[in-house]
């Protein structure tokens, strides 16, 4: 993702070789991690409402590529989800 952005910016700087009109102007894809903001919700195996957002209907854990959770928080999430599964909460 990042590499693509850099290429994009370089091309935009050079006004001579402009991209075609049909290309989208702002090529930003990356979101910030929703769990490492200020006052972020607590990741805990009792907090089922939060954990439900990060699993599919079949009970699989959603990868951090899609949910854009940071590496550290994703590790915590998987551990707490597995605890909740043991207790039969999810």
């Amino acid at each position: 993702m990042k590499r693509r952005n850099k290429k994009f910016q370089k091309k935009n700087v050079n006004s001579l070789n402009k991209l075609s009109l049909f290309q989208k102007n702002d090529g930003k894809f990356s979101k910030k991690c929703p769990l490492s903001i200020k006052n972020a919700p607590i990741i805990d195996y009792k907090n089922i409402g939060l954990l439900r957002k990060y699993i599919t209907d079949n009970g699989k854990i959603i990868s951090s590529k899609i949910s854009s959770v940071s590496f550290n928080k994703q590790k915590k999430l998987t551990k707490e989800i597995k605890k909740a599964k043991i207790l039969g909460l999810i």
Partner: protein, 109 residues
């Protein structure tokens, strides 16, 4: 000494008396084995996500306590022998947060 959380799932077909006695039993057990009970929560009758030992529902009881490895050993030994308990989980914590109650219906956080 460290902090622990222990949750127990009891069978759904227990009477209220049995639940009370179950709760008091583990309360006294922790106290007698050099532990200290900080809080007890009852989450009530909840639906299980998948069948556990052919049960679809269970009573959840949640203990927050302070203790050492001896208390843990004693509790887990007793739980595994107990017939009225389907499943249990103990988690170690550096800090316990007592304020948040996720299964309290009145607050509805």
């Amino acid at each position: 000494m460290a902090f622990y959380e222990n949750t127990i799932i009891a069978k759904q077909d227990l009477a209220e008396k049995d639940l009370k006695s179950l709760r008091e039993k583990y309360d006294t057990l922790i106290k007698n084995s050099s532990g200290k009970v900080i809080k007890i929560e009852e989450w009530g009758l909840l639906n299980l996500a998948n069948k556990i030992k052919n049960y679809k529902k269970g009573f959840y009881i949640h203990f927050k306590f302070e203790g050492n490895n001896k208390t843990l050993d004693e509790i887990e030994k007793k739980i595994q022998l107990d017939n009225s308990i389907i499943r249990f989980l103990t988690v170690k914590y550096k800090k316990l947060d007592i304020k948040n109650e996720y299964f309290n219906k009145e607050k509805t956080k």
